[in-house]
Amino acid sequence: MRKLSFSRKSLGIPYALFLLVFVIAPLLVLFYYAFTDGQGQFTIANLTGFFTNPNTMGTLCYSFALAIVTTAVCLLLAYPIAYILAFSNMKSKSVILMLFVMPMWINFSLRITALKEVLTVLEGNLAMHPFLNAVIGMTYDFLPFMILPIYTTISKLDKALREAAMDLGASELETFLKITLPLSVPGIISGVSMVFLPAMTNYVVLDMLYNSTYIMGSLIGSYFAAYNWHGGSMIALILLGIICLFTLLTNGSEEENTRGGALL
């Protein structure tokens, strides 16, 4: 019997090794490169350089601004869509949901190309509204990723809770604010995390829409093009820090929320 359980467990070994070598090791190497210079000497110049250079700090702020606005726009569009679909009794509901999700499976660069052609006709010169175009492009790209998790969460909500609230005299607005919205927070959080980080890093959307402003991802791209591994590693590390912080924040609130749900 012991031999048997050993053989099942050992199936995971190749994947564990794969993750160690190709997921964990690259991050360790990133650390090493971020804190050394071209001669292999320890240095914090890359770190201090980033936080004292007005250009890179500007890039950080621009990335945050772009990510916040994009996430907000996606949320404002996606929540009503998910809400309407989850509570509708349309026969074709699953088909309509599919239509909202389907763009995920079409190559993003081709979709952005299509958007670019249309925006060019509408605006004439794309360079006139760089920030607006970046928000439109990213919303176009990421919206399905916001709709799906919110829809899943709302459609799983216990209908009895809403009915109980209504029976006890809550108005539709009150029911939404006190029941549906708080209970859909986990979906909102996973949607936000699907949109926020790509919006800070997906510089190709900006490139394709002729927005030459840098975001965090573009910095890595430019260091990569210049073979500056040390500078690039530091940016990657800073991004990693932001991602960790973000994950910790969202995990914490998610737990709190499920706890709140359990209390109900």
Binding site: S7, V23, N107, T113, T120, D207, F224
Partner: protein, 266 residues
């Protein structure tokens, strides 16, 4: 009245999502090089798309990479999930945590860090395709793991034991009993892996050989260039991909509906 507002909202957002693709599809059947006056029907974009070796090679390469990476990712991810499920808690936790890293990480960071490790530190040439394939497996395998794991949890643990009691070897029990039980998870993981690989830009950019292009890297470079024949041929490619996805979704929906109605009949 309220109902109309709701429908109008849904329709508006759908238009936002699909109108650009539709417009491009219409123009892909014309001689036009810009969205503007329609100058008459033409299939030349499709002829260019299917006769230019450079374009065909790029599409074939992208598909080959996606299938290859997805097969490797499905193997590793599925075995990883089975192994992790039956391992001690600490080990299983460790695998799950490591598995989560590429999922939450930005693709730029994943691609860049792999490039540093493999190309800069170990000196692996990008021309060997090793960094690119490894990169795409890193990108896809965690999602296979995540889609297989719930199926293993749902599986009745006594089935495996029963197979062993009835004289099956562990290998037979695994392949004949466990794998069929979790097959839906494996298939959806594989499909997810294919779409992730097809859609990837960042990991490919940092790990691919200079002379090789995936659809994403090719399109991004082409939009920077001024070659209009290539540009409009890509409109045709976009239309073809849109139609393929549309057909796949329709077939999947029909199958799912059929299953539901079959179940309803029983």
């Amino acid at each position: 009245m309220k109902k109309y507002i709701k429908s109008a909202f849904l329709i508006l957002v759908l238009l936002f999502l699909y109108l650009p693709i539709f417009i491009l599809a219409v123009y892909s059947f014309t001689d036009a090089t810009n969205i503007g006056a329609i100058r008459g029907f033409s299939l030349h974009n499709y002829v260019t798309l299917f006769t230019t070796p450079e374009l065909l090679g790029m599409i074939g390469g992208t598909l080959l990479l996606a299938v290859g990476a997805a097969i490797l990712a499905t193997l590793l991810g599925t075995l990883g999930a089975i192994g992790a499920f039956y391992s001690k808690k600490g080990m299983s936790q460790a695998i799950s945590t490591m598995n989560q890293v590429p999922v939450v990480n930005a693709d730029v960071v994943t691609g860049f860090s792999l490039c540093i490790l493999l190309v800069v530190v170990f000196g692996v040439s990008k021309d060997t395709f090793v960094p690119l394939v490894v990169g795409h497996v890193v990108l896809c395998a965690p999602f296979v793991y995540l889609s297989v794991m719930p199926k293993i949890r749902q599986m009745d643990p006594s089935i495996y034991e029963a197979a062993l009691d009835l004289g099956a070897t562990p290998f037979v029990a695994l392949t004949q009993v466990v794998i069929p039980q979790i097959l839906p998870g494996i298939i959806s993981g594989f499909a997810l892996a294919i779409t992730l690989s097809l859609d990837d830009y960042f990991v490919a950019t940092y790990t691919k050989p200079a002379t090789f292009d995936t659809i994403s890297t090719y399109v991004v470079n082409a939009t920077k260039g001024a070659q209009t024949t290539i540009k409009t041929a890509l409109w045709a490619l976009s239309t073809v991909i849109f139609l393929i996805v549309l057909i796949l979704v329709a077939v999947m929906n029909l199958k799912a509906n059929k299953k539901v109605s079959e179940r309803a009949d029983v």
